[in-house]
Every structure is written in C-alpha cells, then in structure tokens.
Point group: C2
Chain length 449, copies 2
C-alpha cells in the first residue's frame, strides 16, 4: 500500500451543505505529501482497519484523544491586517474621527518595515491561533510592506491572499496617505502582483496577490479601468468594499449614476474570484449580477454594526444564488476571532428577521424569513470562503487541503450533561470556544499552532 | 497607623458615572478585615508613600505587575444556573421545543442533589473565572437544590443571590415540573428564604434569598399575592421575567388587562430590590412606574436576540430614570461571560439606533438616539448591578467591597502600538479579553480565582 505523509484518526465535523453537518466518529484522514486529503475512511469502511494499521506501523498515525474534535480551519474573507494595533479602540467615535485620527495615520506607518514586520507577524500568529487557516487581507497603500505581509503569511504557514491597497483619488484620500499618482498606483500594483506570484510556490500552502481598490470613492475611474486590465492580464483575485453604508452607497450612486456592483462590473472587476465586503445595500439587479458573475460577498456582521447602518440580508441573497463567506473585518470589527463572526452572523440575521424596535408592531418591525441557522453561518465561514476564493478548502473530504482546527473540549464547555445529539456538541464548540480551546491548527497538512 | 487586612498597589479602571471612566495609575487600595475598601490613595496624595511603606513593612502589600490592571468584578443580574449544561445548544429550535424538550426536563433533574452539586459547582467556578463576582440566579422549582446553590456560592466565595423558582399554575407548566400546589409553592418559598437567611452571614461576602416567580404566565394570582406578602415580611430581593416577548407581553395583557409591570406592582412585587429581566416591551407608564419604585431592569442583550423579538431601548429607559444592569441570561444567552453581554449591549443598541432593514429609508429604519457607549454598558455591568441589588459593589472607592478582576494585558491584545489614551486600553480590555486574561478574581477582599 502506498502511504501518504501521514493519517489522523479522530472525530470530525464539517458542512455538507448550508444546513447539514457531517459528523465522522473516529474517522481516518489520510494526507498526501502535498498536504491534501487523499482519502477519508469511516469506521464501517472495509479498508479502515488495514489502512489504519499501515500508518500505525510506519509511525505515521496521529490519534486524537477522546476530548478532541476536528473542524475545518476558517476562511476570513475580509481583514485589514494593518489595523490590528487599533482593534477594540475608538469604536464610539464618528467614522470621520475613526478614519482621520486613527486608521489612516496608522496605515501610513507601515512604510516603516520594522513596524510592519512586528505587527504583521502578530496578526498572522494571532489569526492562526484563532483557527483562521486562510485569510484575505487588505494591506496598505505601500507596496513593500504589502509584499512583506504575503511573505510572513507564507513563512508562518497561513494561506494568505494579500492586496496592496489602491487609493489614488486626491479628493477622497488624505495627502499623507494615498497613491502618489494614477500611474504609480498601477505600476506599484503590477509590481506587487509580480512579486507575490514569484514567491507563490515557495510555500506549501501558497500565497496569492489580490487586486485591491479600497472602494470606489477612493479611486479615479481611470484607475479602476486600469486595475480591471491587470485582473484580466494576471487572472488574480479581486477584493473591495461594496455598498457598505448609506453614505458610501449614496456617494457612488451620485458619482456614477449606478450602484457599486454595476459600476465595478463596467471596469471588469467582478469575476468569480472577486470578493465584495459588506454589500448590505445591494438591490435586486445587483444580487442577480453577482449570482451571474459568481462573485462572492464577504459578510462582516460585526463591523456592519458599527459602520454599515443595516444588516446584510444573508438568507435572501444566499437563496438568490450569491455565495457568501464570513469575515472579521478587523478593525471595523474588533475581534480577530471567526467564532465571533459566525455568532454575530446568526445574531444579526435574527435581529433582521424579528426587527429591533418594540414601538412598532410585529409586522412592521422585521424582515421575515431572514434568520439563518448556526450551521449556515459555519458553512459560510468554511465552505463559502473556499468557494469565494476558488480554493479547495473548507471541507474534510478527499482533494481538499488538510486545513484543520483541533478543538479541546475540556475547557469552557459544560459537558457533564449528555448532549442529545452530536449537533448539540457541535453548537457548543461554535458558541462557547475561546482561543484556548483551539489546541492545534493545521494548514495544508502542516501543524502551525 | 492602624493597618487593615492588606493593600493592593496597581493601575485600575472603574466607572464614575454612566459615561466617565476613572483611571488610577499605580493606586493604593487598602482593604479592611471585612473585605471593604477602607481607603484609596493616588500617587499625588501626601499620605501615599507612608501608607505604602507601612503595608510593605508588614508584608501586607500586593503589587501588581506593569502588565496587570484592575477593574471591578461584574454583577450578572440574570442567570439560570441550572440551564448551564445546555448552554450553546438548541438555539435554532422554536421556543416550545427549547422549553419542553430541553429546558424543563433539565431543570427537573436537580432534584438529584448529586447532579445539582456537580453542575452548580461548575457554574460558580465558571462564572467566577469570567470575572462575575456577584450573581443573581434563578435556581429551580425544588427547594433543596436551590438552597444548595446558595451554599455553593457561599463556599466558593461568590456573592450569590438565589431564588427558588415559583411556578404553580397547572395550565402554564408541565406536570413533571411545577410546584405541587399553591400552598406548597408558598411554604417551600418561605422555608427557602429562612434557610438562606440562616446561612447568610456564614460567608464573608454573604449570600441572599430571592423571591422568584418565574413570570406571570406561570403563576396563579393567589400565588403572586402571597409572594408579595413574603417580600414584605422578609424584606428580601425579588426577580422575575417581565414583558419579554410579543407572546409573553400579549399574554399578560390579555390575562390581567394590563402590562406586566403594572400587574406585578399590584401584588407588591416592585421594590427597590426587584430586578426585572428583559423588559423590552415596557410602555411609557411602565417606565415611569419603574423609575418611581426604583426597580431595576436586567438587560439580557444576547438572549433577547433569541427570545425577545426586539431590543431593549436601553438609552431611553436609562435617561428616563430607570436603573439598568446587564446579564448573561444563561442559557437563553449562550455565553457565561459578562464581557460578551457588555459587547452585545452596545451592538444591540447600535442596531436599534440605525435599524436593520436596508430596504427601508434611513428615517424609517432605526430608532434615533438609541446607541449607548461602551462605557455606559460597563457602568451597567458594574455600578448598575450594585444599585439594582442595593449592594456596595461596582466601584473601587472607599466603602465598596473589594470585588476585583486583575487583567493580564499580555494575552490576546495588540499593545505594541501606543494607545492614544488610557480609554483606548480600557476598551481593548473590554472588547478583546477572554477568560484567560482574567488572571485573578477577588470577592470581598478574598482571592477566589
């Protein structure tokens, strides 16, 4: 028998679809040399015992204890890595203060590569420790620290997708923090893409460059057009903010005479590897367009509370065929934990469903048929993220990358009372885990925590 | 100089009022033999050095390290201790399933005192480890395990206020889980009150009995009336659920022809030591009544998402003179952490302010002037809780109990970037801490974690 790199024996949960969770009791997960799952055996499979014995004999079998469970690593679909130092601060301030006094001055500091190195190492170590195995990052406007972030992801073992942020409009951006010119914005972006593509295969789990216009209000039309051409030339990922708030949505409507999604599409920026953060104000035509283009939404439930003025109609958009992933959106969202993002996705959907204002009647208050299940939020944070990025991650099945969190059940969780079903245990993991419950994290078959 | 039991030297934060946080740098907190703060000295105070020297010489000075900060312990104003085993489960189920298949059968199990002992020890240890120094608990309908919970709080050092739950109505409650009769409900409650009063002073931090009708729909009118008399006779605390959801609010209106608050008042159940959980559907007259009676609300922001169909208008009720505390409401709320409750209080208030449904105009969507600050939520979780219970807890000032969490800043928190103000650090503590950040917990001058 040809053995792979190793096998892991233990219990596991993952999403079969938006509603159903697969529970494998004492499964055998075989991992090949490249870090992909080559086979999964369940107890009742004929070959289980002989395969298990083979790995065991070769010293290639890792056996989880009875108090451990595996779930897939999370895909954080939107995070501003440079904003990590200010996570949890200034959220009571108005947006203008938050941007001008906190965010932009902080992002400008990353020109200092020592500072960038120090913070970005902490970002990647922290998110890995919270179980985020794949992350789609906004870096800053400066190229060098952005490439550095990709390298740090690579070295520390995280599947990082990184964008040098583009913001060339002299009206929409402060003088101390923007691209020097349209030409510079494009040449630096192209150089960034080339630099990251060059090192992409250096790392087993790979890293990826992402074309990243901050959002329409910060870019000139010429710039967006040129970025669209780069997307076509290099066939790389795209990320931006889209229809986030009353202000932003209204601004684009006034400037371009159409919604963000339609406008981004004109510039060739809506692909099946594009991720749009927020997207709370999409109208029916926008939703249809995203579904057609197979463009995904990064749902940022926590930062939406602070800056989006409303809740993403997650269930409605999902049922209309748009793929949705979940994101922490540091530091508009204060928490680096995808567990919190998952919980908040459910919470926000229920509040949209029931409404919030008790002075209104039940009928006026909410938006019916909007609540999502915890299983659906988990699906989005794993499988949805994988679909969004066109990457084989999010499930524990053959041909998927072995990206796994090993959960220690013997902390923070009340387990002395028999759970009625496996699903009860799964929900406890999602709702009660803290970072200390995440005992080990594996990316592409390598242990990284 | 007469020294007390000990002094603690270190940095501290606490609420001066609903908006302002007092920061003391390297303060000296003197604690008397009974566990109260006898004096607080700041660096600039004349006596600081001599007092410090005196405690130091006597070996009675504890000095916090530079990476530690003190904040007051939390007051959890509403928690169902017996529901802890099912925390984080079945929240996608309809209320009826949640009650009949999960909650009531679980609560009925506490007749088994071994089971009760096992779970309740875990509840008290867990909540203490999350920084909850005072807790107002619903126990179960059975007297003996309820008294046991009070004893466990006492022994483990938590300031526990415990209620034997009253639910005597044969219509509103399942046969396997309710008071055997009206008479039994009252006699068992009175016996429970006496039992807890008897052991009250056994523990330095004390424990307290609480008159606890589950809510109006589960009690007969005769029962509520008799409970009101017990309140008068023993001058003890009261807790119940109030105007929680569309269903419950409507039920009481139909049954009694008035809102919960008005009805509870008829029975003498609204005092300045009464705590009403939820209270999301109060009308103006209810709010006025609560302010007059100095009756407090236990705001349960997380469980309200699941079972209350709307958000408590926290800011409005607070500005109209009603005192509000914060609660986890295990297991309608899944988390035992008051940090999560504080965060959700802010989140829910912002969602009430901005509204949730992007299909409506900005004007139709929200309820203006509803957002609360993080400082306000913290105030409610500490000082507000103390006021609700008429207990000297929640501040780090002279005559308050020394109830403190000592926070380790060297975990989970990005501190390499200089915070602009002390408040930034304080907000990071509130928004990013996990239980492992809570290094020590002290109640009434005793270390309990």
């Amino acid at each position: 028998m040809m053995l792979g790199k190793m096998a892991v024996q233990g219990d596991a949960f993952y999403s079969l679809n938006t509603q159903d969770i697969k529970y494998i009791k004492n499964g055998l997960f075989c991992i090949d040399e490249k870090g992909f799952i080559s086979a999964v055996y369940e107890k009742q499979d004929k070959a289980y015992d002989v395969v298990r014995e083979s790995y065991l004999k070769e010293g290639k079998l890792k056996i989880l204890s009875a108090s451990e469970v595996m779930i897939p690593g999370f895909v954080d679909l939107h995070m501003h890595a440079p904003q990590w130092p200010q996570a949890g601060t200034a959220l009571d301030k108005p947006l203008e203060t938050w941007l001008q006094e906190y965010t932009f001055p902080l992002e400008a500091k990353y020109k200092d590569l020592d500072f960038a190195n120090m913070v970005y190492e902490d970002v990647v170590r922290t998110t890995l420790s919270y179980g985020t195995t794949t992350a789609l990052y906004f870096a800053t406007v400066d190229r060098e620290p952005s490439t550095l972030l990709a390298k740090i992801c690579g070295r520390l073992g995280q599947r990082g997708l990184v964008g040098k942020v583009v913001m060339d409009d002299i009206v929409g951006n402060p003088e101390f923090y923007r691209d020097a010119s349209l030409e510079k914005a494009i040449s630096e972006t192209e150089k960034f893409v080339q630099e990251v593509l060059e090192i992409q295969d250096t790392y087993k789990q790979k890293v990826y460059p992402v074309i990243t216009p901050r959002f329409i209000p910060s870019c000139t039309d010429n710039c967006l057009e040129a970025l669209g051409k780069l997307v076509q030339k290099y066939n790389v990922h795209v990320q931006t903010h889209c229809s986030e708030s009353d202000w932003e949505h209204g601004f684009v409507k006034q400037k371009h005479g159409m919604n963000d999604a339609q406008s981004l599409n004109r510039f060739g920026l809506l692909t099946d590897k594009t991720v749009l953060a927020h997207a709370t104000f999409l109208d029916d035509a926008d939703v249809k367009l995203l579904a057609e283009k197979q463009t995904s939404i990064a749902h940022c439930p926590l930062s939406n509370v602070y800056f989006a003025n409303s809740v993403l109609p997650f269930r409605e958009f999902s049922e209309k065929g748009v793929n949705i992933g979940v994101a922490t959106d540091i530091s508009g969202g204060y928490s680096p934990s995808m567990y919190h993002a998952i919980r908040q996705a459910v919470i926000s959907s229920r509040m949209l469903n029931d409404g919030v204002n008790s002075a209104l009647t039940q009928e006026q208050r909410g938006r019916n048929h909007s609540a999502i299940t915890l299983n659906h939020a988990f699906y989005a944070a794993t499988v949805g993220g994988g679909i969004a990025l066109n990457l084989p991650v999010g499930k524990l099945e053959k041909s998927y990358a072995f990206d796994v969190q090993m959960i220690d059940l013997h902390k923070n969780m009340p387990l002395f009372y028999a759970e009625k079903k496996e699903e009860d245990l799964f929900h406890k993991i999602l709702l009660l885990s803290e970072s200390q419950n995440i005992k080990e994290v594996w990316v592409q078959g390598n242990r990284v925590k």
